[in-house]
Amino acid sequence: MDTDVLIIGAGPAGIVAAIETASKGLNVTIIDESNLLGGQLRQQTQMLQSLPSPYQSMRGFELAQDLTNQLTQFPIRYLLEHRIIGIYANGSLGITDELNVFPIMAKKIIVATGATENAISFPKWTLPGIMTIGAAQTLVNRDFVIPGKSAVIVGSTDFAMDIIHQLIDVGINIKGIIEQQPTIQAREMKKVNELYDIGLPFYVNASIKEARGIGEVKEVDIQLQDRVFTEYVDLVLVDGGRSPILDLFYQLNCSFGFGDKLGGWVPSYNQSFQTSVNDVFIAGNATGISVHGALLITGKIAATSVCEELEVLSREEAEKQSAELWKELESREYTDVFQERIKHIESYKSPMLKNQFIS
């Protein structure tokens, strides 16, 4: 199987990249392990602010629908419920549908594998009832399952604040938000204040000392600076932030850098969102954890670069388009994240980790 552009991951960045490349007449294949397009957006009911034009503010699943609708205009090949399991010696990628394995040779690859949630560990953290906060959102919004009656939250990012609102809406009693740092991590203070106003206790400089229960979590000891107290809960949701999913980049022999504000290890890329491997481009949260608007823009920039390389967009047009997109990215993204992204790009030529397969 051959394709001009292979897009890996059908989340927001992947879909935007597919629209951009397919609209220029390129032959596009998009692969995702899920059975539906949209990625994590599908269970996101929170309002997404700061989306780039032409998108208005809308909820995550609405954006997924909007993007998916745009895709239907183009003759794109979909490989849903397919995964990449390896790389052949000639550079083609090995795809499986769990029954068969077949190669795809792509002129250009855009990897948009997104991010994964980080867990926070403490004694007995593997008890049932203890999960990441994103998992709770998936249970509630996708599977229509209430994961518990009363919960404590460990961590306080914006993502957590959004989901806490949704959990309260479905009747889950939130007994407290525990943050290890001296301050709440969320940037959108409006959402934090709303939770304050309804009387939710926030504990900073705090952590879980231990969870207890037989077969499921029943209680947790919460360690404050001056004392320890016990809460009785059947749900503990941990929010350790998110990190780029790197497995495929590693297999493709891409180089890596490290950026705390980008979520940790991040594949090296340049201004064109081209990785250290010539025909491999990167988009979305894999380029560094950011706001939804930024994810869409990175997908567009990567697609613009690919269109230029495959000569369906002139160099001048591509440069002009890219420059505008970069300006928009700067305006949509939190300043410190954007600055770290720029720093990451500057280290493109001298990555921290390269040639990982050469002993």
Binding site: G86, I87, Y88, A89, G94, V101, F357, S359
Partner: protein, 357 residues
């Protein structure tokens, strides 16, 4: 004794550590092991770790492996549990014409006292029920088995350290000089001086030899290994290309590729390996593969170990070989004898570096 040692071993793989430990049993002062990365980061940490004798040819080479395998139970008693299991080794064949080769192998081993049996189809299937019923026969050797390479090297190191062996890791040797009957080792961290120098650099032996103007003809031979999900214990023997580890994972690997130091995996070889494994053990078709990794073998030009002194270089020893896991207890013993007694209890003339010119 800043930087001065009686003996320095370059290379902290299974061979270097085997020598360090055995040397330290008799000699408790002034031994240093240098490793460019960390023990287990190279070949020794990416192997199926068979302790394997049978179907190594010619018989004098099988004999070397045999004596080393014989040392394993004793070694485990000295350094601790290394998960050594003498499972017996089974090499099935699927064509009638291979039977003759098997019989010839058995006969030539008989002469040196190594017993291997040629099993009929029925005997194979009684011994190992999961083998493909299309099997024609197999050679079987009771001395073959496997070991946990991580435990083996860890135990070697702990025991050697107890006997005062020092280690310097992430410390690459960049030059070696001879000076006033001593060797000067230039490394990333500092310069060392020693009387006895042992080159046990495995895949890097060539580079080390070049520093002294010696040709140690070792090339790199990549092997890709697949690891299954943990399965309930079903594979009783070490079978050609396959073994089941204590945790239930089945390791599969057959490939040999000349790719230098490149340790990537390719789906081509992964698929070939999976097909081979299923050919030998059809029930593996249902197993899930959880990962694949590559290891780089240190392969001497003619396939046989390069062991012993180096003509023209006093107190210089080389130990460069394939099958380092199998051979490490014996190589450790022999090099120790060579250094401390000036001779070995088992002839190693066949393995001298002087056979290359």
């Amino acid at each position: 004794m800043d930087g001065k040692y009686e003996t320095i071993i370059i290379g902290g793989g299974v061979v270097g550590n085997g020598i360090a430990y055995h040397l330290s049993e008799r000699y408790k002062e002034g031994v240093l092991v240098l490793d460019k990365k960390y023990p287990l980061s190279g070949t020794s940490g990416s192997t199926q770790a068979w302790v394997w004798v049978h179907n190594k040819t010619p018989s004098w080479y099988a004999e070397l492996n045999y004596y080393s395998a014989e040392l394993y139970p004793y070694l485990s008693k000295k350094i601790g549990d290394v998960e050594y299991k003498r499972t017996g080794g089974l090499s099935p064949f699927f064509q009638e014409k291979d039977k003759e080769k098997a019989l010839y192998l058995a006969e030539s081993y008989e002469k040196i006292g190594i017993k291997i049996k040629v099993l009929s189809k029925e005997e194979v299937l009684v011994k190992e029920q999961c083998i493909n019923p299309k099997v024609v026969g197999a050679t079987y050797s009771s001395i073959d088995g496997n070991v946990n390479p991580f435990r083996l090297i860890d135990r070697y190191m702990r025991s050697a350290k107890k006997n005062n062996v020092e280690y310097s890791t992430y410390n690459k040797v960049t030059d070696i000089k001879k000076q006033d009957g001593q060797y000067i080792i230039v490394s990333d961290k500092k310069n060392y001086m020693c009387k006895n120098l042992i080159l046990a650099g495995g895949t890097w032996s060539n580079e080390l030899g070049n520093m002294l103007g010696i040709n140690i003809p070792i090339y790199q031979l990549r092997g890709q290994i697949l690891v299954s999900e943990p399965l309930k214990p079903f594979l009783r023997h070490t079978v050609s290309g396959l073994r089941q580890a204590n945790n239930g994972e089945v390791l599969m690997g057959y490939s040999m590729e000349k790719k230098g130091f490149n340790r990537s995996t390719t789906l081509d070889v992964i698929q070939e390996t999976a097909n081979m494994a299923v050919h030998y053990v059809p029930s593996l078709r249902k197993a899930k593969i959880v990962r694949a990794f590559s290891g780089i073998r240190a392969m001497p030009e003619d396939g046989f170990p390069i062991l012993g002194t180096v003509p023209g270089f006093e107190n210089l020893y080389v130990a460069a070989t394939h099958s380092g896991v199998t051979l490490s207890p014996l190589i450790g013993t022999l090099i120790t004898e060579l250094i401390l007694d000036g001779e070995t209890s088992f002839p190693i003339d066949n393995y001298s570096i002087s056979r290359f010119n």
